[in-house]
């Protein structure tokens, strides 16, 4: 309406508008160092020591397993995003991160289709079904891992880790947590557990490698340190209580902390920003819940390790945690609103 009536009075086309000047709402600057891709690439960099340790312990099995998962995750990501009618967003590297973490969470011996199926479930059901990056409630890698853990119990059970005749000595021992659960065999010494000279899933064995990578992530602020710290602290407290109340429990606090996937998950799985709470208080609650659940599952369930279920359970309560930890604004709550 305005346009029509003003037509006659409007100035000639070449007059006032400056060529090429844009109009947009502020702010007009943005931090150049940050992108989602950088966050993801940081996770990959942090995983280098972990992968190096896996390579040292399990040789080509590690390359194969991680390779299968990464390729499958990328393929599923591409297919599902085309299917949803959006451009495949492979360049944000999030599918690679899921693939690497998934691969590192599997036993060396799992047949190829286990990794492939886990990837399809991880990306397809864990992520794409919810609407893609940022929309999922559950950690995709843990959705995939949980699915194959139940579906292919034999390929992922305790016995899958132990095999003789591969030429790798470490593979003849039971994993520490299985040894503890079944009260059979002897646990490696604490130092061996810390450095990673033990059997287990590909990425979980070396606490040292996980700490190095995790420290990098936290220092780069690509992960919040509150989650791993609160998770490990709460695991230690619950394990300590268990030791006090049930002297028969096979693992000491330090053994709990150095065996299984506790430290790996504390730094690389629990810190997944999408599936963890937004505020500091929420992150502490989340980490504490995770640590406690991991130890409780280890102690009271038939599974030797509890990370997968602990993560999925805590992921489910993240929206609730977010809701009860809405921070009070600076200066208190408005009186009138």
């Amino acid at each position: 309406m305005v346009e029509a009536t003003n037509k006659a009075a409007s100035p000639p086309q070449d007059a006032p508008v400056e060529p090429g000047l844009q109009v947009a709402p502020g702010p007009h600057l943005s931090s150049t160092g940050l992108s989602t891709r950088r966050l993801m690439v940081d996770v990959l960099i942090a995983l280098i020591p972990v992968f190096a340790m896996a390579l040292y312990l399990f040789r080509w099995y590690a390359v194969l397993q991680v390779g299968i998962c990464v390729v499958s995750c990328l393929a599923v990501e591409a297919i599902t995003s085309l299917w949803r009618g959006s451009r495949p967003s492979l360049q944000d590297a999030s599918a690679i991160v899921t693939g690497v973490i998934l691969g590192l969470s599997l036993p060396w011996s799992a047949p190829w289709y286990v990794g492939a199926v886990a990837s399809v479930v991880a990306i397809g059901f864990g992520k794409a079904a919810f609407g893609g990056l940022g929309q999922n409630i559950f950690n995709p890698a843990m959705v995939g891992r949980g699915f194959v853990m139940i579906s292919f119990a034999a390929s992922l059970g305790a016995t899958a880790y132990v095999r003789s005749g591969t030429g790798l000595e470490i593979l003849t021992q039971a994993t520490p947590l299985t040894a503890a659960k079944e009260l059979s065999g002897s646990l490696p010494g604490l130092w061996a557990l810390f450095v990673g000279n033990a059997n287990g899933s590909l990425g979980e064995t070396s606490v040292l490698a996980c700490l190095v990578g995790g420290l990098y992530l936290c220092l780069r602020r690509s992960a919040v340190w509150l989650i791993p710290i609160s998770m490990l602290a709460s695991a230690a407290v619950v394990a300590g209580l268990a030791n006090l109340l049930m002297p028969a429990t096979p693992l000491t606090v330090l053994q709990h902390l150095t065996s299984g996937a506790l430290v790996f998950s504390a730094f690389f799985i629990a810190t997944d920003p999408v599936t963890s709470p937004l505020t500091g208080r929420g992150q502490v609650i989340f980490g504490a819940g995770l640590g406690a659940l991991v130890v409780v599952i280890r102690l009271f369930s038939n599974y030797p390790e509890g990370v997968v279920f602990a993560v999925l359970l805590m992921n489910a309560v993240v929206p609730l945690i977010n809701r009860v930890t809405i921070p009070e604004p600076l200066g208190g709550l408005p009186v009138d609103a």
């Binding site: 006032p16 508008v17 400056e18 090429g20 000047l21 844009q22 109009v23 947009a24 709402p25 502020g26 702010p27 007009h28 600057l29 943005s30 931090s31 150049t32 940050l34 992108s35 989602t36 950088r38 966050l39 967003s89 944000d92 999030s94 893609g132 990056l133 940022g134 929309q135 602020r221 919040v224 920003p273 999408v274 963890s276 937004l278 505020t279 977010n322 809405i326 921070p327 009070e328 604004p329 600076l330 200066g331 208190g332 709550l333 408005p334 009186v335 009138d336 609103a337």
Partner: protein, 455 residues
């Protein structure tokens, strides 16, 4: 804004939490001494340059006016008079769209032959003697009257009428006057140059303002990247009892809600004002204007405007008459370069883009920033991965991503549960977001929607 019951608030910290460190780019203009703009052929003086009611013109077309004459007034409780910034003949009223999008009537004045120019104008504004020690303090009501008559508004950007801020209220005794010399907005250097080149009127103005509000303490807060300005002010403030304090250089340090806790130690209540914790905050340029209004009876006709950014040829700090066009000031800075992409009224964090360079400069115009295509590298927006960087950056302890995405979806209950109306739109969240989500823009839109829905 309601000034209801002050709630008990927690004590503040030495530095506020949250905030960001954008490339300040102050070096572009910080070493450029204030230059006096030659009288333009014409100025267009908006009748609304402040928070509050529109003024009505008290001059008619073809009236002769002298610089400083009253040309617009309003008897509304919240408003500020406007004055002729040059001498000449009033032309027919016309309208202009201000950078904030408001279309307001303006009084154009065509310049006559007699003008105050150059050094004489600078001396008249900021030069000469400014008593600081043997200052004969006028009665508070006289200070207030002079400030009101001079049409003073906050020169830091918000343009709130100063006489309202300085009006003493027996129910809310004021303990401390904070003079804000932070200038935390990137690129801008107008306050810095003023503190450096004219520290004495700032000090005198601070003493007058403190006397008007009954404050027994005066603290000047300056970001620590402006050490020289702080030194100049300390020197000028010698033996006056005024404290000059350096605060950390961090955006938005100059925001009242951040500065007051740092300097005074108490948080401003979310729904309140610094007044609720016994503090009044005035900007340094406003302080100088108070001195000028009270001691010299001169209204607000000129201000220092930084013209800067990599999109102008020669960044400058200009003492410009109110009502001159943005385009003329940019020309005085050598014009825009071929790389120029966006012209901003103010700085890059909270400034508005200009669509029309004929827009007149107002009392709240602290700078003109011309950004280039390189400054504005546009990234594609990607999905929120809930990384929480916006939560860490928010100086008000909000959760910007939840508010913004709720506002985008129209989930107003959710937005309010996360305190959308507490947001002061500083833009830290949008600056920081790795997914390039226009967080503060969405929140701003949401606030506007809610405000409209409430009416």
């Amino acid at each position: 804004m309601s000034v209801a019951q002050p709630k008990p608030v927690k004590p503040g910290r030495r530095s506020f939490s949250g905030g960001i460190h954008p490339a300040a780019a102050k070096q572009l203009a910080r070493d450029q001494p204030i230059e006096v703009v030659p009288t333009p052929k014409q100025v267009r003086i908006p009748l609304l340059q402040h928070v509050g009611a529109l003024c009505e013109a008290v001059v008619k077309s073809r009236d002769e006016v002298v610089a400083g004459d009253l040309i617009g007034k309003s008897e509304a409780p919240v408003s500020a008079f406007v004055h002729a910034s040059i001498s000449g003949k009033v032309a027919k009223e016309s309208a202009a769209t201000l950078p904030n999008g408001r279309r307001v009537p303006t009084v154009p004045i065509k310049a006559g032959d007699e003008q105050l120019e150059g050094q004489a104008l600078f001396d008249d504004t900021y030069g000469g003697e400014w008593p600081t020690l043997r200052l004969d303090l006028p009665r508070p009501d006289l200070i207030l009257q002079a400030v009101r008559d001079a049409g003073l508004v906050g020169m830091g950007g918000a343009a709130f009428p100063t006489h309202i801020k300085l009006a003493a209220n027996p129910d809310r005794p004021i303990d401390t006057l904070v003079v804000n010399g932070c200038e935390c907005e990137p690129y801008l250097t107008a306050d810095y140059r003023l503190m450096l080149e004219a520290p004495r009127p700032v000090i005198t103005g601070a003493l007058l303002a403190a006397s008007a509000v009954g404050a027994r303490r005066i603290i000047i807060g300056i970001e620590d990247d402006k050490r020289q300005a702080a030194e100049a002010l300390s020197k000028a403030a010698e033996s006056t009892g005024i404290e000059v304090r350096l605060v950390r250089t961090k955006y938005p340090q100059g925001s009242e809600r951040q500065l007051v806790p740092v300097l005074v130690g108490s948080n401003v209540p979310a729904a309140g004002l610094p007044l609720d914790v016994g503090v009044v905050v005035v900007n340094v340029a406003t302080a100088a204007a108070i001195a000028r209004a009270v001691l010299r009876g001169k209204p607000m006709t000129h201000r220092v405007v930084t013209v800067t950014g990599r999109g102008v040829v020669q960044p400058k700090n200009l003492l410009a008459p109110i009502g001159i066009s943005y385009g003329e000031l940019i020309e005085l800075a050598g014009g825009i370069t071929s790389q120029a992409a966006r012209v901003l009224a103010g700085g890059p964090m909270m400034g508005f883009t200009l669509g029309d360079l004929d827009t007149p400069v107002t009392k709240g115009t602290s700078g003109i920033t011309v950004l280039t295509r390189d400054d504005l590298q546009a990234f594609e927006e990607t999905a929120c991965v809930r990384c929480g960087l916006c939560v860490d950056a928010c100086p008000l302890n909000l959760v910007p991503t939840r508010i913004a995405l709720a506002a985008r979806k129209g989930a107003w209950t959710l937005a309010e549960r996360y305190h959308i109306n507490t947001c002061m739109e500083c833009g830290c969240c949008a600056y920081q977001c790795p997914a390039q989500i226009p967080l503060v823009q969405l929140i701003r839109m949401g606030k506007a929607h809610l405000a409209a829905a409430r009416v």
